[in-house]
């Protein structure tokens, strides 16, 4: 269930942060392997991002699933737009699309070193 207050909080988070990751745990201490993969990819690309720990916030944990129409965590938002979960981010990283996407959206990212 996504109530109005939670929706507003998510709106604010995704518009105020260019790169925002809804995750389990924190960027320094991820508490789920899938969240850890996305943190690793973003760190590898040198992209600055904010992590929102859904384990500390039951409203966001449930609400984000409706907000994005996406049933699982992690979820990456860039410039207010949902990009994907762990599988999609990893695939886009491997093909180079992720670095390209950050660059076209004006976000600093290093080219991955093969």
């Amino acid at each position: 269930m996504l109530d109005e207050a939670t929706k507003k909080r998510i709106d604010t988070e995704v518009t105020e942060n260019d790169v925002l990751l809804f995750m389990k745990g924190t960027p320094v201490f991820p508490q789920c392997g899938f969240s850890a993969v996305v943190v690793q990819v973003l760190s590898h690309l040198g992209v600055k991002f904010k992590g929102v720990n859904v384990l500390e916030d039951p409203d966001i944990r449930e609400g984000i699933k409706d907000y994005s129409s996406w049933p699982t965590i992690p979820q990456l938002y860039v410039k207010g737009e949902f990009v994907g979960g762990c599988d999609i981010i990893r695939e886009m990283f491997e093909t180079g699309e992720l670095a390209e996407m950050f660059q076209t959206r004006g976000i600093d990212a290093k080219h991955p070193v093969a």
Binding site: Q31, C32, W70, P71, T72, F82, V83, G84, D87, I88
Partner: protein, 91 residues
């Protein structure tokens, strides 16, 4: 019916896949959140289907999520997806 069997029958009906592989990876997550004794909580699913043609990654995942809505809301805690068209599969 096991969870894996129900995933198989629902994806077969929804996506007419030319290839479908379902792997129960629950043992790799033993003791983590969402894990239950007996497994069937964490799955990796590989699907090849012509229905993915012309669709973005997000849209492909949403097709699978829609077909497995019930499982995702109940028993399935994590679902790793590899979704390809027949062309991409043969590359």
């Amino acid at each position: 019916m096991t969870v894996a069997e129900s995933i198989k029958s629902k994806l077969t009906a929804a996506l007419a896949p030319s290839e479908l592989e379902i792997e129960d990876e629950s043992h790799k997550h033993a003791g983590h959140s969402g894990w239950r004794p007996g497994g069937e909580t964490h799955f990796r699913v590989r699907v090849t289907s012509t229905l993915f043609m012309g669709k973005s990654r997000v849209d492909r995942h949403r097709l699978v999520h829609a077909a497995l809505q019930e499982e995702l809301a109940t028993q399935v805690h994590a679902l790793a997806l590899e979704l390809k068209t027949p062309d991409e599969q043969s590359r």
